[in-house]
């Protein structure tokens, strides 16, 4: 049934949006941790 394609589209779209957001959180977190490490190292020097 053609209409069911929309059902799949909606579910895929939902999880794509969530995945993109969580991905951005992971990326930002990694960058901040790196920055923190650099700051700690430079302050110890």
């Amino acid at each position: 049934m053609n209409a069911v394609k929309f059902l799949y589209a909606a579910y895929i779209a939902t999880w794509t949006i969530h995945a993109l957001y969580i991905g951005s959180l992971v990326r930002r977190s990694a960058r901040l941790r790196r920055q923190l490490k650099e700051l700690d190292e430079s302050s110890q020097r």
Binding site: A3, R28, L36, D40, S43
Partner: protein, 288 residues
């Protein structure tokens, strides 16, 4: 505290899978719409979650604004308390009870309104000082994500069922769009503003947004009564089995939202820590 996160993540994933299974397989097929209607098990819980998160942002913003002066803080506390008392009592008074829309039980309305001061005082207690602002930005951002899901799944649902992607007079979808726009502008303000008091400005904007929402709702409602539009999202009563699955999915998405907010909250705390370190470093000068 940190070790709880992976455990909760696994539990939430299981809950989401179970709720999804209920939504796709177990729930009965709708007589009119066929299987496409199952989109509501994602669309509606996302909407309720988004509204809850925006509500939390509003409470956190008000708390943040009033804490500047003790007098405003006291006044706000009394107002919150008054809302709770009125909300607890009013729906049961016969004169008021008659005005309520059919099908809404007074106890349900009373419970909903009493939650306002409950949230207000709970957030004020558990998130002191700057933590309020961290909560504000967290709830706004995650709220926008969930609201995006609502706005994407809404038209995807409308197209096969009603033949159109969007109806300008559809009050729920349009109000949600405006709410989304307001909060995206809120996030833009936070990103673009570098004043020392960005947080206060953002909190003021959140209050403006909250004032705007009922006006949006009524303006579209009246526009629609003059220009009849197709009603997307349907009204009417819902099959109790469907309601059960809907609530289950809402619970699953709430747990998921909680975990995402927790992550975002930690990220923001980390971000502020890095900023502080950077500021300290520039104050101390370049180390030899």
């Amino acid at each position: 505290m940190k070790r709880a996160f992976p455990i909760l993540a696994v539990l939430t994933a299981c809950l989401l899978i179970y709720a999804g299974y209920q939504a796709l397989i177990v729930a009965p097929t709708d007589a009119l719409q066929g299987d496409v209607y199952r989109i509501i098990y994602y669309h509606v819980p996302s909407a309720w979650t988004a509204f809850l998160l925006f509500f939390i942002n509003f409470i956190a913003s008000v708390q943040y604004l009033v804490r500047a002066k003790p007098s405003t803080k006291r006044a706000a506390n009394w107002i919150a308390l008054a809302i709770g008392i009125v909300g607890l009592v009013a729906p049961f008074i016969p004169v008021v009870a008659q005005q309520l829309p059919a099908g809404m039980r007074p106890s349900a309305i009373a419970t909903t309104i009493v939650l306002i001061p409950v949230f207000y005082f709970a957030i004020g207690k558990w998130f002191p000082g700057q933590a309020l602002d961290v909560l504000a930005v967290t709830s706004a951002e995650v709220g926008v994500v969930f609201c995006t899901v609502v706005l994407v799944t809404g038209p995807i649902w409308a197209r096969p069922v009603w033949g159109i992607w969007w109806a300008p007079g559809d009050i729920r979808l349009t109000s949600t769009l405006v709410l989304w726009l307001i909060y995206v502008s809120y996030l833009m303000l936070r990103r673009f503003s570098h004043s020392a008091q960005t947080h206060m400005l953002a909190a003021a904007l959140a209050v403006f947004g909250a004032l705007d929402v009922p006006l949006v709702y009524f303006s579209i409602w009246f526009f629609r009564t003059q220009h009849p539009q197709p009603v997307i999202g349907g009204g009417g009563s819902i099959d109790p089995r469907m309601l059960q699955v809907l609530l289950l999915n809402w619970l699953a998405f709430l747990c998921f939202a909680f975990l995402v907010c927790w992550s975002r909250y930690r990220l923001e705390a980390l971000h502020r820590e890095v900023e502080e370190e950077q500021a300290l470093e520039s104050l101390n000068g370049v180390p030899q």
